[in-house]
């Protein structure tokens, strides 16, 4: 057990801190990282690329920094930028998912064409996986494409597509082989978002915001060479991509930071003249959560260590999404509760505080996080089957694409 970084990692941490100190005046607002990048954002991105704080392990020939993969280095870089409240670069699924996927299964031509512009923020990607009828059961997706001359012609609908309203490209799963078994009839295509026949509609959620979209495809044409791997390999490609998503380790301090915000609020706020921290019922709930938050933090450090050593974390990794999202929701629930009526405020006029509005938004968004990216029920299936080796349920019917898919 050693909670300190090695000299090498300590040196990197110092270097990142120095970089942030020296350059933070140039950093774009954090609010901009999920928008179409402006000039300042692009300049910041290019600088981060040069220093290796973005695209760190991407080979130099594809526009990256060419460093050896090192989990702790990545974690340190991410923690330092987050901790300082400074943008760590453009965040989109092109950088986090498509780039590693192309590195693993793309052709040389595809790597050369897409990776560098993606890292540089010149191409923003969105992800077209989920559909209204294919959520937990993603492989039942119905958006389909048939070949017409040199093109695929795509029809269907995707949902939960964040960034679609400003993305340049979408990587998308479509059914191209309607007669093949469910998982083997899917292809993975790269499609320009300005193609004729694509319509993006904002998707409003319970928080009132529209951070997601629905994307409709009507006879959208894309050249047949815009495919990654072969026809019918899409499920395999997507799982490569998902693997990288799963590899992204959360910041072990994330829950702790959230917890400290509640502590501060409970220490500073009086409701009906009484300090929130002095109400034993609330305080005991706070302390219960502190125990969970500490467990979450040290579990995260344990996972980082294992990843650093190249060990398989198995069930330890698989539980993170489930317990993490539920814990986040418990934290926001406490925050909302302790504010009483003042905690109902959902704008900043009159009643309530900024805290109330933000925590309420979190309280609802956290439910979205519990559901999204594999609901708790799916997570528990994964944990028990892949993590604990428990048997699958008997299948309802043989695994094949349904007729309705072929309309």
């Amino acid at each position: 057990m050693d909670l300190n970084y090695s000299d090498r990692h300590k040196a990197l941490q110092d270097k990142v801190r120095a970089f942030i100190d020296a350059n933070k005046h140039e950093a774009p607002s954090l609010a901009n990282v999920r928008k179409k990048p402006d000039r300042a954002t692009l300049a910041w991105q290019h600088k981060l690329l040069r220093y290796g704080y973005v695209g760190r392990t991407v080979p130099r020939q594809y526009g990256g920094f060419g460093a050896e993969p090192d989990v702790l280095e990545s974690a340190i870089i991410s923690q330092e930028f987050t901790g300082a409240g400074i943008s760590g670069g453009i965040t989109n699924q092109g950088i986090s998912m498509l780039v590693p996927t192309l590195l693993e299964v793309g052709t040389e031509k595809q790597r050369v064409r897409w990776i560098a512009p993606t890292l540089q923020g010149e191409i923003i990607w969105c992800q077209g996986y989920s559909e209204p009828g294919a959520g937990s059961d993603l492989a039942s997706l119905k958006t389909h494409a048939h070949v017409d001359g040199d093109d695929f012609v795509i029809n269907g609908q995707k949902i939960w597509t964040s960034s679609a309203h400003f993305a340049d490209m979408i990587f998308i799963l479509v059914r191209t082989e309607p007669d093949a078994p469910k998982h083997r009839g899917i292809s993975y295509l790269l499609v320009p978002m300005d193609s004729e026949g694509i319509e993006v509609r904002p998707l409003k959620t319970m928080t009132g915001q529209s951070t997601f979209n629905e994307v409709f495809f009507t006879d959208v044409r894309v050249a047949t060479d815009q495919i990654v791997m072969d026809r019918g390999d899409g499920w395999k490609v997507a799982n490569t991509t998902l693997k990288y998503e799963r590899l992204l380790l959360g910041d072990p301090n994330k829950m702790l930071n959230r917890f400290h915000r509640i502590v501060k609020m409970m220490e500073d706020t009086r409701i009906g003249g009484r300090r929130l921290m002095d109400m034993p019922e609330y305080r005991d709930r706070l302390l219960r959560l502190q125990g969970e938050v500490m467990a979450s933090k040290y579990h995260g450090m344990r996972l980082l260590t294992e990843a650093d050593k190249g060990e398989e974390s198995g069930v330890k990794r698989l539980i993170v999404k489930y317990f993490g999202t539920v814990l986040a929701h418990k934290l926001s629930a406490l925050a909302v509760d302790v504010m009483g009526e003042a905690g109902l405020a959902y704008d900043l006029s009159g009643l309530g505080t900024e805290d109330a509005s933000l925590w309420n938004s979190d309280y609802m968004y956290d439910i979205g996080l519990i559901i999204g990216g594999g609901s708790s029920q799916i997570q528990k299936n994964i944990i028990s089957e892949r993590g604990l080796g428990m048997p699958r349920e008997p299948r309802a019917e043989p695994q094949k694409a349904q007729k309705t898919m072929e309309r």
């Binding site: 039942s140 009526e341 009643l351 309802a396």
Partner: protein, 364 residues
């Protein structure tokens, strides 16, 4: 012994339920909620025609003279429909306040107008307003000044009825320069919370009660029972919707309702929610018929429904998966309604503490 609703109460529930199902389709509801006033003129007129404002008002004053259990039946139906209508304060607490603390002349002056739907009273308790600042309401020469927040049903109120910290009730006309109303956007678009800023405002005192604090508490307790009933209705709606959605939604070649995990979520919800119905009924009935247990029952109905309601809201949203998180089905309107009910007129910890005090288990 007959523990349950009378045929008339079931009818009342059915009539109102059918009315809301017909007259308040989800698009209409969403449109009203987006405004955030908690008020729709059409709906209000409909409820007036159904006689709701006069429910608790004696027949001599133009009402139907029913009891608090009847009012709870209505509250449950309104919660089931997430009806954006001033009910808990305007139709239940304010009439009760006048009956408990108004003199004959005040009752004769106010109650018929409330029953007729001509006046709508918002209502607040200074002591529960949840303000993050210390109270600053001052009474000077019979005029009231200061800011009073946490008022229920203030979105389209013609007057507000305020309980001051010492238990005295006053009515303020909102249509004057000395009273300025601001309704804040809360999570629940169907019912706002309102702040009134008073500047030497004329007030009418309701001071005919022998024990003003007890009178104020009984009004508060009735309001808490209504909020519990509202959560009950909203929770039942979310459960019904979840069962329907799960039956229709197919994943892995099966309706998700056939998955044990989904079934057990629904079983957990109904196992927690259904006994709440009897608790709410009893708490409502006790307000009129079992005075010794009225306080404790009201506190527990409010607190227990708040806790169960939260779990119901989250679990049923999860059953809906991603669709539950979108605005597309409007399910979140009920989720937020339950969240609102939880926090107003005292959160669950607060209510439980009051129940402990009422039973001599804790000091105030």
């Amino acid at each position: 012994m007959d523990f349950g609703l009378s045929d008339e109460q079931r009818q009342l529930s059915d009539i109102l339920g059918n009315y809301l199902a017909d007259q308040l389709p989800i698009d209409e509801l969403r449109a009203v909620a987006d405004q955030g006033t908690g008020f729709s003129d059409d709906l209000w007129q409909g409820l007036v025609e159904l006689g709701l404002p006069g429910l608790l008002i004696p027949e001599e004053h133009g009402g139907s003279g029913l009891g608090i259990l009847d009012a709870a039946v209505v509250a449950e139906a309104l919660g089931y429909g997430a009806a954006p209508a001033p009910y808990v304060a305007s139709m239940v607490m304010a009439p009760l306040a006048l009956l408990r603390s108004g003199d004959d002349a005040q009752q004769a002056a106010w109650l018929p107008r409330i029953a007729a739907g001509e006046v709508r009273l918002g209502l607040g308790f200074e002591i529960l307003s949840g303000g993050t600042r210390a109270g600053d309401i001052a009474l000077k020469d019979g005029k009231l000044s200061g800011e009073f927040s946490g008022i229920l049903d203030g979105g389209a109120a013609t007057h507000v009825l305020l309980y001051l910290a010492d238990g005295w009730a006053v009515i303020v006309d909102t249509n004057t320069d000395t009273a300025e109303l601001h309704s804040a956007t809360t999570i629940d678009g169907t019912r706002p919370l309102t702040t009134v800023t008073l500047t030497d405002a004329n007030v009418e005192f309701l001071d005919a009660a022998n024990d003003p604090v007890a009178a104020a508490q009984s009004v508060l307790d009735a309001g808490r029972v209504m909020l519990a009933a509202d959560t009950l209705g909203a929770g039942q709606r979310m459960l019904d919707d979840a069962i329907t959605y799960a039956a229709d939604r197919v994943q892995f070649d099966r309706p998700i309702a056939s998955f044990q995990a989904v079934k057990h979520m629904c079983a957990d919800v109904v196992s927690a929610l259904e006994p709440c119905r009897a608790l709410v009924w009893y708490a409502a009935y006790a307000q009129d018929a079992v005075p010794d247990e009225a306080r404790v029952a009201a506190c527990h109905a409010k607190a227990h429904l708040a806790e169960v309601g939260r779990d119901v809201a989250r679990t049923t949203t999860e059953v809906h998966g991603g669709m539950g998180f979108t605005d597309l089905l409007g399910l979140h309107l009920w989720f937020k309604r339950i969240g609102f009910d939880r926090q107003v007129l005292g959160g669950p910890e607060h209510c439980r503490h009051e129940a402990a005090v009422a039973q001599g288990w804790a000091v105030e």
